[in-house]
Symmetry: C2
Subunit: 381 residues, 2 copies
Amino acid sequence: MGEAVDGFPVVGVVGGGQLARMMAPAAIGLGITLRVLARDARDSAALVVPGTAVGDEDDLDALRRFAAGCDVLTFDHEHVPTAHLRTLQEEGVVVRPGPDALEHAQDKVVMRRRLTDLGVPCPRWAEVSSAAELAGFGAEVGWPVVLKTPRGGYDGKGVRVVDDVADADDWLARGEPLLAEERVGFARELAVLVARSPHGQAAVWPVVETVQADGVCREVLAPAPVREDHALAAQQAALRIADGLDVTGVMAVEMFDTAAGVLVNELAMRPHNSGHWTIEGSRTSQFEQHLRAVLDLPLGDTRTTAPNVAMSNVLGGDLAQMYPGYLHCLAHDPGVRIHMYGKEVRPGRKVGHVTTLGDDAGEVRARAQHAAAFLRGDIDG
Amino acid sequence: MGEAVDGFPVVGVVGGGQLARMMAPAAIGLGITLRVLARDARDSAALVVPGTAVGDEDDLDALRRFAAGCDVLTFDHEHVPTAHLRTLQEEGVVVRPGPDALEHAQDKVVMRRRLTDLGVPCPRWAEVSSAAELAGFGAEVGWPVVLKTPRGGYDGKGVRVVDDVADADDWLARGEPLLAEERVGFARELAVLVARSPHGQAAVWPVVETVQADGVCREVLAPAPVREDHALAAQQAALRIADGLDVTGVMAVEMFDTAAGVLVNELAMRPHNSGHWTIEGSRTSQFEQHLRAVLDLPLGDTRTTAPNVAMSNVLGGDLAQMYPGYLHCLAHDPGVRIHMYGKEVRPGRKVGHVTTLGDDAGEVRARAQHAAAFLRGDIDG
């Protein structure tokens, strides 16, 4: 099962999460073969992609065996050692995005340094290794300060807001450098999704607003209700980063929309939660675009399919089973699009998302909120 | 791999062709598990659906083993013995559409009789078993006459136009009843796609024009350029048939658009080539709608996503390899949507389709024609 098709490429995805899972429909459409390297046979993508390999992305031999059957290697997440990827590249494996680009999504200090070199607007930042350095930075930009571990953070993990140096004692005691950033006042958070191919073709989607709670993305609104010059600056920043970092594939750039303009917060070098709305909301989804980009195929039309699109994440809540909720949700709103990831429900875990499209931004958002809340069990009807 | 997800249903599809294949993205989205019973591990759907079973739909034991792991049994094609399906039903298997409905898509005489009983407008027809009966029918409706084998026809096979009785000698010599139909003068061919659930909810998509060559569908244009009263009559006929035949799932009703109104030509009781445009062109694709219908979930919004949508089939032509053509097609038209089925190219074989969307019907159609012709090797650029 799952044999490759003569004349069509095989794309291998390291990681078996929902991002790899949502690449599968795009691959099925294009007739290309998708392979997945998952940590567990019950991972989200492993459930839907034939012939999924089970292995650890930290294991060079597992990566090597997996890559042997693929024309291009790409990623569901950024947690793959770049040293392994460099070795694979030397052995002739095509890795997209490459380790040099990927490093900027793995290490926030490397990212800040490079973006600053590229002239991309960022919050003021410093690498701090001691209480004295943090105190100096806080005195310069004002307290509280945002402190981040350079590596390993996601969904609010590895990030904290500290009111003074004492607040950071435990992290400083580890003796590892930290990234300190000014706490920016912003009107909203934005994300720009950009795709870039090895040939250098690039395409951006409209700028979206992301609504976060406890560091976790809850909603995405496309297009963002933002000043046109800020939207343009956001897209230009994303394109400059994609080019400057030689990104291949899809990259998400998370930003703050401030009175003075947009400032880059984070990068994700893969399809991203802020782009799930593109499955129905854009002529080309981020998942198809990612496959096209890593295969160096021409990129697709990124225009929206409706004036307003809203995406709400379905987080684990009180209900262990979400399928029974389909009866209400789909009857209540024949236009709602439900996506579930095959994941066991655990409190706060992203187990799916819903998307709605329409003319009125407020109505579209309310529909998505209702469906997501109903599925997780927050409301009765 | 491909394990079912706790609390979510398993839908089993008998047949591993492109229709089963295109149900996979819809199943992935909804988080339900799809299983396929294919004749060959290299079948179109077997390439993309984990854990595909290999077996013959004529083999009751193979069907029984397959059905044991499924909550609902449905079909990629109608060539499954209804006797087997009745046995499975008696054994507790949920079969949708059921054998009583399916029979109308298997036997054209059964279909004509039932539609006539329902008062659905059809071409004049007769069951003929002898030269005398055919001569009588020809004298009544005028020659030439359309002659069909009641069972086993598809894509123009099992259908011929005869100028006189002598023309039908070989088929009559078989001693099996044939379906004779008047040859209708029509302005265009239409198709109406309808979905119906066990609860009795039904939904139609806009009426489309189908363009055939040598009995094979080449293009589908949505919506059909047809008089509004004819479009309405076509949709009403499809809804009446779905209800009258107790259809569950998607059904395609092919029709002739004549000066006097619409006449029903054929039925297909499954997703259908005339509905491939719905993947991008409708808020709910025929594949998702079929899954929702057979699971008795509420049906989705069938509105179009653009004023005009065109679908062109990609038939096998001079090129053995179609992937290299992607470079031109996708650069030439960033909005074209390519679907390939993982099938080996053979002359005239349906190996994929392309879809385009836009404001102008003529431009949208020309774009789809260009992409399909380029992929098969008919033109150079």
